[in-house]
């Protein structure tokens, strides 16, 4: 292989890494913007509130939304920025972008992570409502210890599933 080919490959690898780092910085920047910009974060909170209220209504709870609080006659939960899984989604996205894989695989990984964390977060909020109604004594532990840890574990497992399946295949493809 001619010498300049090696240099070209090295340059390509470096450029790819720089691109990934730049995208990662963009994701972190976007995350900070979303968490800071009152309008964006309150829209996300209200969106979650509406989804949770809709699910609770399916179970006959007669839930209504006041701002970012889901309220029924029995109990109420307020969705704040930390409850939206925004930070964890950003960390997941950064991990997917930084891992070597094709851009198609990365898009798939982002979809899997964002969708998975979103779904789990909705389950978390609905379950916290029912814990608040039926087992209020363990609400704090379930909210701040168990569910937070479960979300971390789930995000790690989702990432490993993606990296082990599509990331690995993509690495092989990339070396071809």
């Amino acid at each position: 292989m001619p010498r300049n080919w090696g240099q070209r490959i090295q340059r390509t690898i470096r450029a790819d890494l720089l691109l990934r780092l730049a995208l990662c910085a963009c994701v972190v920047g976007l995350l900070l913007f979303a968490a800071n910009a009152g309008g964006v974060s309150s829209a996300i909170q209200t969106g979650f509130g509406h989804i949770v209220a809709g699910i609770l209504n399916l179970f006959g709870e007669d839930a209504s939304i006041v701002g970012n609080t889901v309220q029924t006659e029995r109990f109420g939960i307020t969705v704040v920025t930390a409850c939206t899984g925004l930070f964890l989604t950003g960390i997941f996205a950064a991990a997917v972008i930084l891992f070597p894989a094709t851009w198609r695989a990365k898009t798939l990984g982002l979809g899997l992570g964002v969708g998975g964390i979103f779904l789990l977060n909705v389950i978390r909020l609905v379950s916290l409502y029912y814990i608040g109604v039926y087992l209020p004594s363990i609400l704090e532990t379930a909210h701040l210890l168990v569910w937070q840890s479960v979300l971390i574990g789930a995000a790690v497992i989702l990432w490993l599933v993606w990296a082990g399946t599509w990331g690995r295949t993509s690495c092989r493809e990339a070396t071809r």
Binding site: I91, E140, L144, V146, V150, I152, V156, I157, G164
Partner: protein, 196 residues
């Protein structure tokens, strides 16, 4: 998903879930000791970053109250942290316990490094978040910094664990890949349509 990977991840998820349940049950008993330890280390750090020293930490059980000195013998409450501020110890330990491919010695060493790292991060988080509260003033917002610190607080167990176990995961994934290649080779050399 390959069967080998699925099995490895299922085992990881099961051990993680069991460890999490056990550690979550134990945490209320350990939280007060951990909170005291963080406060003990944070006090001199506060003295180091503040001139004159303005912060008083008071640990009551597993709750940490932060006060600000506003005059001679006068303090005012700033913020109250509950036992869940340091919950990350629980998922971090569960992640280390569930990681495949680590021997007992390596697992213990890395867990110890992880815990020391997390403890240092918690001290830094306490000091930084209190100083950021002081920094807020009329027309001066530090919301961006507060969010950044909060993101780091949430990411800290994952970052520490990923950093300390990346090698083990890489080995596990490579082994699974080698296993997959062997299986593929075996199946491709078998005669097609052979009858017993």
């Amino acid at each position: 998903m390959r069967r080998g990977l699925g099995r490895t991840l299922a085992r990881f998820a099961l051990i993680f879930a069991l460890s999490l349940a056990a550690l979550a049950a134990l945490w209320p008993y350990a939280a007060s000791v951990y909170t005291s330890a963080v406060a003990t280390v944070a006090r001199p750090v506060f003295r180091l970053v503040e001139a004159p020293n303005a912060t008083v930490l008071d640990v009551q059980g597993d709750e940490l109250s932060v006060y600000r000195i506003v005059g001679e013998d006068r303090i005012t409450p700033v913020v109250l942290f509950d036992r869940y501020l340091y919950f990350a110890v629980v998922p971090l330990l569960a992640l280390f316990l569930a990681t495949p491919g680590l021997g007992v010695r390596k697992r213990m060493t890395r867990t110890a490094f992880g815990l020391v790292g997390l403890f240092a991060f918690h001290v830094a988080y306490l000091v930084t978040s209190v100083e950021l509260i002081y920094a807020v003033g009329p027309g001066h917002s530090v919301a961006g910094w507060q969010v950044a610190v909060r993101v780091l607080w949430e990411a800290s167990p994952i970052l520490l664990w990923a950093g300390l176990t990346a090698g083990a995961w890489k080995r596990a994934l490579l082994n699974l890949r080698a296993l997959g290649s062997e299986e593929a080779e075996t199946s491709s050399t078998e005669p097609v349509g052979a009858v017993g």
